[in-house]
């Protein structure tokens, strides 16, 4: 079965005063119908730009999709104009943003902001759209839904605003919801509630979810499949169990080791590991593996030749020379 969304060799670059910033440089991601896919990586690895490229929500200029295909139900979205994409936005692909505090328009009521996508895509009257909005608010468990649709964003807490954002993204029952770090700006208890709510909504509507996050804990709880990104490239892709049990890429291993654990007894407790160094600047990056400067296993070939994504086990792909070396030795 063809995947719902298939990103092939996507390159999104930004022109800056210092040169071309290769924020996303050859990314392949596929999402099947009804699947939850997590995209993980640290800040600046290109997760958000990848997601924003799908609906062309990046600022163009300076951003530009230089290469690649984004196939949604077999149709390439890259050549479409922003105007043509308007029929897909919110209707087929919903978007939940990272910052609930700034993602809602302060001068319009929340109800109006949810209702307007219903009116745009389903041609509902003002009254019907508002009624549907109230229903959506009830679904996302906003108390006193019928009254709160007339309130403005500043009258809501962060968690409630994110519920509004979820209602907005789901209002037109899209086939895919892209959630860009939906819980990062919220405090921990609210994070859990929002993730539960997303899971609930997914069970109810059966849409696919592309969840972008930097928290491995969130990945373990929600994902079926995981894509690990580093410096604008996919470095590893696997289903969630094999990724946590058998991480192949040194970067993924580092990410997993950096999760604090409470299941170890005090005798076995060790200092939490961190990955040294920071994400490289993606203007004219050096050839070879982009993780090599921070990699404890790096050897000569890593600096010279870029590792390509290859299958190391069924459904498990990664991009590292290391595995090949070990396999060659073995």
């Amino acid at each position: 079965m063809a995947p719902l969304l298939e990103i092939k060799g996507l390159k999104t670059h930004f022109s800056t005063d210092d040169g071309m910033l290769q924020a996303v440089d050859g990314v392949d991601i596929a999402i099947n119908k009804g699947e939850t896919l997590c995209v993980v990586g640290e800040s600046g690895c290109g997760k958000t730009v990848t997601a924003m490229s799908i609906l062309k929500l990046i600022a163009m200029p300076p951003g530009r999709i230089v290469q690649g295909q984004i196939l949604f139900e077999g149709r390439d979205l890259v050549p479409l104009t922003s105007h043509e994409l308007d029929d897909i936005r919110a209707k087929d692909i919903g978007f939940i943003f990272q910052e609930p505090m700034t993602s809602l328009n302060p001068v319009l009521t929340v109800g109006e902001q949810v209702a307007e996508s219903l009116r745009r895509h389903e041609g509902l009257s003002k009254k019907d759209a508002l009624a549907r909005t109230v229903e959506m608010f009830k679904l996302v468990q906003i108390p006193n839904a019928a009254g709160r649709v007339h309130d403005y964003p500043h009258q809501f807490s962060g968690g409630m605003r994110q519920r509004v954002m979820i209602a907005m993204a789901l209002a037109c029952k899209p086939k895919l919801v892209i959630a860009d770090e939906p819980t990062t700006a919220l405090d921990v208890t609210i994070q859990a509630q929002i993730l539960d709510l997303l899971q609930d909504m997914k069970d109810r509507f059966g849409m696919a979810v592309m969840l972008i996050t930097h928290a491995m804990g969130v990945v373990a709880e929600t994902a079926q499949r995981v894509v690990v990104m580093y410096a604008g490239k996919v470095v590893e892709e696997a289903d969630v169990d094999s990724l946590f049990e058998n991480p192949r890429h040194p970067y993924t291993q580092g990410l997993i080791r950096s999760i604090p654990r409470i299941d170890l007894d005090s005798a076995n407790k060790t200092r939490l590991e961190a990955i040294g160094g920071s994400v490289p600047i993606l203007i004219n990056p050096a050839p070879g593996c982009r993780f090599a400067p921070r990699c404890r296993y790096a050897f000569d070939r890593c600096a010279a030749e870029e590792p390509l994504l290859r299958e190391v086990a069924p459904g498990h792909r990664m991009a590292c020379h290391l595995g090949e070396k070990q396999e060659a030795v073995a």
């Binding site: 994409l85 700034t102 001068v107 996508s117």
Partner: protein, 319 residues
């Protein structure tokens, strides 16, 4: 809401009192008064002049004179113009509509140019349209109105002979013809004032829009597939208009000031030229009343700005 307006109007009373006091003192300190002419007139004996001064209370201490003026003012007696030989309030009411007509049209013209041009330029920053708009705006507010005014007169009245360059208060025509003439003679002053205002406003609208257009909620609106025009007008513009309202309202005093110059150039019989001529002829009651009317208009426009804020931005409540 009406309670808010009422309270704002009540707050305006002390500030207007303060303004009138300062105006009165400054004018009292200024050299010359309505009777200074009598003193130099050989036909008026000095004792008659002195008797007149005493009769009109000009030799009283300043606080007494101020209280007299205030008491009369509150009762609707704005004084008498010795130069025009008529009541000051009649004089002002004769002149004010012309000024409001010209300034009002100029402001409307400025907004009609500045908002669309500024918004469109902001949606395509650094495009050719944006650069041309910026260049014109820069030229526009670099040229003072007294220069553009004369230039317009030279081109449109003298060279091309399309428009009259002296504003006439009594047009000898009726009906549609009168309206036509009224519009025709206002074109140049309105263009001069309006374009000058439009130039600085365009740049302001553009930067206000640029600030808003890259905010998260505009991206949210885009992600809903609403289409560019709707995203810009409904989501970005309404937010960008909040600082623009401030600018327009706070610029009103400067607009009235600029109108004084423009009125002089085009001989518009408005309140500004009345102010100039009464200053030159030492017609103190008129100067006092006109400056006070300006002060009232400024206070009024500030109130209008505050009400517009509340309408544009629900986070501001009228309490």
């Amino acid at each position: 809401m009406s309670q808010y307006v009422l309270r704002r109007l009540l707050i305006a009373v002390p500030s207007l009192l303060g303004i009138s006091l300062v105006l009165y003192i400054v004018l009292a300190l200024a050299p010359g008064d309505p009777f200074s002419e009598l003193a130099t007139n050989p036909n008026v004996p000095p004792e008659v002049a002195a008797a007149l001064r005493a009769k009109f209370g000009l030799d009283d201490p300043i606080y007494l004179r101020y209280l007299h003026w205030l008491a009369a003012m509150v009762q609707g007696d704005w004084g008498f113009s010795f130069v025009s030989r008529m009541n000051v309030d009649t004089l002002i009411l004769q002149r004010l509509p012309t000024t409001l007509y010209v300034i009002g049209s100029a402001q409307i013209l400025a907004l009609l140019i500045a908002i669309p041009v500024g918004v469109y330029a902001a949606t395509r920053p650094y495009s050719i349209f944006d650069q041309i708009a910026n260049t014109f705006a820069f030229i526009g507010f670099s040229l003072p109105t007294f220069f553009t005014g004369l230039l317009f007169i030279l081109v449109f009245s003298i060279t091309l002979d399309w428009l009259p360059f002296v504003y006439s208060s009594d047009i000898k025509a009726t009906g549609i013809r009168w309206l036509f003439e009224q519009i025709r003679q206002a074109i140049m002053p309105v263009m001069v004032l309006g374009l000058f205002q439009a130039a600085s406003m365009t740049r302001f609208v553009r930067s206000a829009m640029l600030d808003v257009i890259r905010l998260d909620y505009v991206t949210t609106a885009r992600a809903k597939g609403l289409g560019q025009p709707r995203v810009i007008v409904k989501h970005a513009m309404r937010n960008a208009m909040i600082p623009v309202v401030t600018l327009v309202a706070l610029q009103m005093p400067a607009v009235f000031g600029g109108a004084i110059v423009t009125e002089q150039i085009f001989r518009i019989p408005g309140i500004g030229s009345l102010l100039i001529s009464s200053i030159l002829s030492n017609d103190t009651p008129v100067v006092m009343a006109v400056t006070f009317v300006f002060a009232c208009l400024v206070v009024l426009f500030n109130l209008i700005a505050d009400i517009l804020y509340g309408w544009l931005d629900p986070r501001i409540s009228f309490r």
